[in-house]
């Protein structure tokens, strides 16, 4: 389905008041022919900074001209997301994010909007995330005015028609019914619960009952409560004149009054007991292994040193996890990991790996050894230099399109980060020393704090897990819809 198309198209936005990109020569390779190749300095490159406008009602607008193609794309990020939805209505934001657009406006049904937009190969879409909701558009330049009007209409006059609420709920229920079909989906979901605690707003997920509890009035209320100009950051990129676009945006929004600020959420993180957890799945021949503990917030001063360590440890094909567990031992096709970070809450320190049932225990031991090795023998010398080179020489890819620059800038704006964060990132990586990496490895890696999850085939795995300490079964059975009895043999205890 292509329903998320406009968002996918939009996955390209950032920015930065950046100076020219400094690069370093990469390490000397052994191949003499390769060593002969000279790398000229990268030409000076100053990514274009979007124009920032704050409307009197508080809306922050970022305008990024890009005249390469006759296209205009825009996205609004609105504060408030599923992390603050009521616990008995989990799924509310998913439904809202869908029906905001599909439910049409006061004058037009969603289907009428579909016809109107598709005839122009244009999109207006909405979506819901953990910490924000999103409304976006994408169109060819000549269609801008037509499409922008639809965008404004959806933004300000959504109708949340009941038939589309029902449709969205069908889709949600399908997701629930199918959430245990694929092993990687189970592993990722359960591991997040182990890291954050099952009731944590970033880890909980919709059930039939919580979906059924969502009513049209909830969507209307949500919209009334959160969609106010002072809760919105609006980015536009494409083939327009900034002055004219600013005038058009002011005309559209100047009369829109301020509303109440979105409240700041208070969220607690309560990781599950650090031990081994097992979820049986009979129809697989590979175990999905995840080891998790709490990560960090991105504004942590150690973030840059951690990023360097992460690169050497688990990013890319030349990282330790790949080298040792994939290349040297042939234990996995997919293996990776590192200390995760998020802008305004702790990320997840996650190691993930898939291995055949027979080598499940060996793989877990391997991951544990890598963690310990990271503390005992942290990257230094050539290994450290390689990691830093990889990050710094590829740095230009952080701003190699104007849309990307806008997107990055919108993120800093949204989370209240300094707008030159990317500059600080580069400097932070440049300055990172072997001592820094050794220090953060000691400070943040605590092997005894990891919860280890195995999703796999119990018969094939046999008694391998016995030697790894107590094993708790984690129940993933799906509670039946309200009013339907669970099959007697279906109930399992944790």
């Amino acid at each position: 389905m292509n329903r998320q198309m406009s968002l996918a198209l939009f996955v390209s936005l950032w920015l930065m008041p950046l100076v020219a990109v400094a690069q370093r020569p990469a390490q000397t390779p052994l191949d003499p022919e390769l060593a002969k190749i000279k790398t000229p300095p990268l030409p000076e490159f100053h990514p274009q900074v979007p124009k920032r406008v704050v409307l009197p009602n508080g809306m922050v607008v970022l305008l990024q001209e890009d005249h390469e193609l006759p296209l205009i794309d825009g996205v609004m990020r609105v504060r408030g997301g599923s992390r603050v939805e009521p616990v008995d209505k989990v799924g509310l934001i998913d439904i809202y994010g869908d029906v905001w657009r599909t439910g049409g406006t006061k004058d037009k049904t969603g289907d009428q909007l579909d016809d109107f937009l598709e005839a122009r190969a244009a999109k207006v879409e909405t979506d819901g995330n953990a910490d924000s909701t999103i409304i976006s558009f994408s169109c060819l330049k000549p269609d801008f005015e037509d499409v922008f009007k639809v965008f404004l209409d959806v933004l300000q006059n959504p109708a949340f028609r009941e038939d589309k609420i029902a449709l969205a709920k069908f889709q949600m229920n399908t997701g629930i019914a199918r959430r245990n079909d694929e092993i990687d989906q189970i592993a990722r979901r359960v591991a997040t619960q182990l890291a954050y605690g099952p009731q944590n707003p970033y880890a909980r997920f919709p059930e039939y009952a919580t979906v059924a509890a969502v009513k049209r009035q909830d969507l209307v209320e949500w919209h009334r409560r959160y969609v106010h100009p002072n809760n919105i950051i609006f980015g536009v990129v494409g083939d327009f004149d900034s002055k004219a676009m600013e005038a058009r945006i002011r005309q559209a929004f100047d009369s829109w009054p301020k509303g109440p600020e979105a409240p700041k959420p208070h969220i607690t993180f309560t990781p599950e007991k650090p031990q081994l957890y097992f979820v049986p799945k009979d129809d697989v021949n590979q175990s999905d292994i995840q080891m998790v503990s709490l990560g960090i917030e991105r504004n942590n001063p150690d973030y840059f040193a951690i990023e360097v360590m992460n690169y050497a440890f688990g990013a890319g094909f030349s990282a330790r996890l790949t080298k040792d567990l994939r290349t040297a031992k042939g234990l996995a096709y997919a293996v990776g990991g590192g200390i995760g970070s998020s802008f305004d809450h702790p990320g997840i320190f996650r190691l993930a790996m898939g291995t055949k049932s027979a080598t499940t225990a060996e793989a877990i031991e391997g991951l544990k050894q890598e963690l310990q090795k990271l503390i005992d023998a942290p990257p230094k010398g050539e290994e450290l230099r390689s990691a830093k080179d990889a990050i710094l020489n590829a740095f230009v890819f952080n701003f190699d399109s104007r849309a990307k620059v806008l997107r990055e800038q919108m993120g800093y704006e949204y989370y209240g980060y300094p707008l030159d964060f990317l500059d600080r990132y580069r400097t932070g990586v440049e300055k990172t020393t072997a001592e820094d990496v050794a220090r953060v490895a000691k400070k943040y890696i605590h092997p005894e704090q990891f919860a280890t999850l195995v999703v796999g085939n119990p018969e094939e795995i046999g008694d391998q897990l016995k030697g790894l300490g107590p094993v708790a079964k984690w129940d993933i059975s799906i509670p039946p819809p309200p009013g339907e009895a669970r099959h007697a043999s279906a109930s399992q205890s944790k």
Binding site: T174, R326, T355
Partner: protein
């Protein structure tokens, strides 16, 4: 080509015809000026597109050989070689090439002896198999001493390489990554060197990695299992019935020598196109391409596949009983991508599947409320040879594959018996043009498109002509092609039906 005359029409004129609505805003002629094509003396074609938006570039190398070329009993070999192309060269990834070379030869000798004994059906000596296996493993350990692990990846990544990857499918094998613009020469050296001096280093361990890939993608995924069985039933003679990833028995069999032989047969310069897009200049790239890629030796062009799929004379069915939720898939044979009706199939696919206005969404998802998703698409599992136009649908809880089948057939019947509306047809055509424009903003995407069109048609401009062909599709074309293709005897059906399972209690609920 249906209208060979068009080839000699100036592209400017041609493209103005294609995109009248955008001609004011979008100067297609300037695009053509930014693309340079050069066929090297050894037959390799290089396509360069200037896109100086930022000091970076992306490339795709596409080899016109995929798993369709896997020898009998050696499924997975094309994909296996793709993995080996990251293992380095005679200069990268080794501490002492002459010594490693001798050690690798020993590995092959011992493996050949072990393999010969292992597969004997008469007179196999179990002790001897063990002994020979040990000799082979010892030889591997010996060769391992000279390996600098992952050095090729490391050179690319420390130079700022991003998106380092490759893929193999039935039709082709492709390699790609992006680099900062000051590393064009480094790239030309590395990318040519990997096909000039490839080394089958750590081959047997990498086979284990590929087997893990198979477990992940195919064995441990219900839909992966269905697709493998479905394709196996859909094609009788054509290699589309075999999995690209390979069967375990074959993965356990083939040798590094087999992979090298495959490489020498198919990685022929005339069988390869390299496209590079970004902040690069053709007068710098072409000489570098000549200097580095020009070193690849001329080798005979491999023989084309001549086998044709015999007409199907009855519906075929595959049913998987799984503890996962139900799924419906069906496919109809259609001719290869050079068929004059290719654009009609594209139009049908877009009409049936693209977004909330599509026919399958409106019928199965919105109106009948029996499916969460439904689509119809061409190019399954490839396009190079006769392949399938497929439909699939994801039933809502409580709904069955049989209901999907009925509803999809109703929509197919509609396509055969009544004209699509003017609005629908116009929408398809407008979308095709807009998608083309949107695609231009991405170096990697453009490199892939230019390379694949240059390879498949001998002219990258076909990328734009394909939009023109969609623009010419009529209502009659759609009815005609639907009637010709979507016939019961030309159909293969694959379904997942849900049965109870001990570790999926929710599977029970639906019964």
């Amino acid at each position: 080509m249906k209208f060979p005359l068009r080839r000699i029409l100036p592209a400017l004129l041609f493209l103005l015809v294609v995109l009248p609505a955008f001609s004011q805003e979008f100067d297609m002629a300037s695009l053509e000026k930014r693309v340079t094509v050069k066929k090297l003396d050894n037959g390799l074609t290089i396509v360069v597109m200037q896109r100086p938006e930022a000091p970076v570039f992306s490339f795709f190398t596409i080899v016109d050989a995929g798993s369709s070329q896997d020898p009998l009993g050696e499924t997975g070999l094309a994909h296996m070689f793709e993995h080996m192309a990251f293992k380095g060269t005679t200069g990268i990834g080794t501490t002492d090439w002459p010594a490693e070379k001798a050690a690798l030869e020993k590995v092959e000798e011992t493996y050949a002896a072990y393999r010969a004994e292992r597969y004997k059906t008469v007179g196999r000596d179990a002790d001897k198999v063990k002994q020979l296996e040990q000799a082979w493993k010892d030889a591997i350990a010996q060769a391992q001493k000279y390996v600098v692990p992952n050095e090729f990846d490391e050179v690319v990544e420390t130079n700022g390489g991003r998106g380092v990857n490759a893929f193999t499918n039935w039709d082709e094998t492709a390699y790609m990554y992006s680099l900062p613009a000051n590393r064009v020469e480094l790239w030309a050296y590395l990318e040519s060197e990997r096909f000039l001096h490839p080394v089958m280093r750590e081959f047997y361990k990498e086979r284990d990695v590929v087997m893990e890939e198979r477990r992940m993608r195919t064995d441990s995924q219900p839909i992966g299992r269905l697709v493998e069985q479905f394709l196996g039933s859909s094609f009788a003679t054509y290699p589309y019935h075999r999995p690209t990833i390979g069967y375990f028995s074959d993965l356990n069999y083939f040798s590094a020598t087999d992979a090298k032989d495959f490489f020498e047969k198919y990685y022929v310069p005339a069988n390869m196109v390299v496209a590079i897009v970004g902040d690069v200049k053709p007068d710098e790239v072409i000489p570098l391409a000549e200097k580095y890629f020009g070193r690849l030796p001329v080798r005979p062009h491999p023989a084309p596949v001549h086998t044709a799929e015999p007409a199907q004379n009855s519906e075929r069915n595959v049913q998987l009983l799984e503890t996962s939720q139900p799924f419906y898939l069906e496919g109809y044979h259609r001719p290869n991508y050079r068929d004059p009706d290719d654009a009609v199939y594209d139009a049908i696919s877009d009409l049936m599947s693209n977004g909330r206005t599509s026919r399958l969404f409106r019928a199965l998802v919105r109106d009948k409320k029996i499916a969460a998703e439904a689509e119809g698409f061409s190019g399954f599992p490839g396009t190079k040879y006769q392949h399938l136009f497929a439909f699939d649908a994801v039933p809502l809880p409580g709904h069955t594959p049989e209901e999907m089948r009925k509803a999809i057939h109703e929509e197919i019947e509609r396509l055969k018996t009544s004209d699509v509306t003017d609005e629908e047809l116009q929408m398809v055509k407008t979308r095709a043009k807009a998608n083309l424009i949107r695609g231009l903003a991405d170096n990697g995407g453009m490199a892939f498109q230019l390379a694949i069109y240059q390879l498949r048609y001998g002219d990258w401009r076909e990328l734009f002509r394909s939009v023109d062909r969609i623009d010419k599709v009529t209502k009659e074309d759609i009815r005609r092609v639907a009637n010709k293709t979507f016939q019961p005897t030309n159909r293969t059906v694959g379904v997942i039906e849900t049965i109870p399972g001990s570790s999926s209690p929710e599977g029970v609920k639906e019964q």
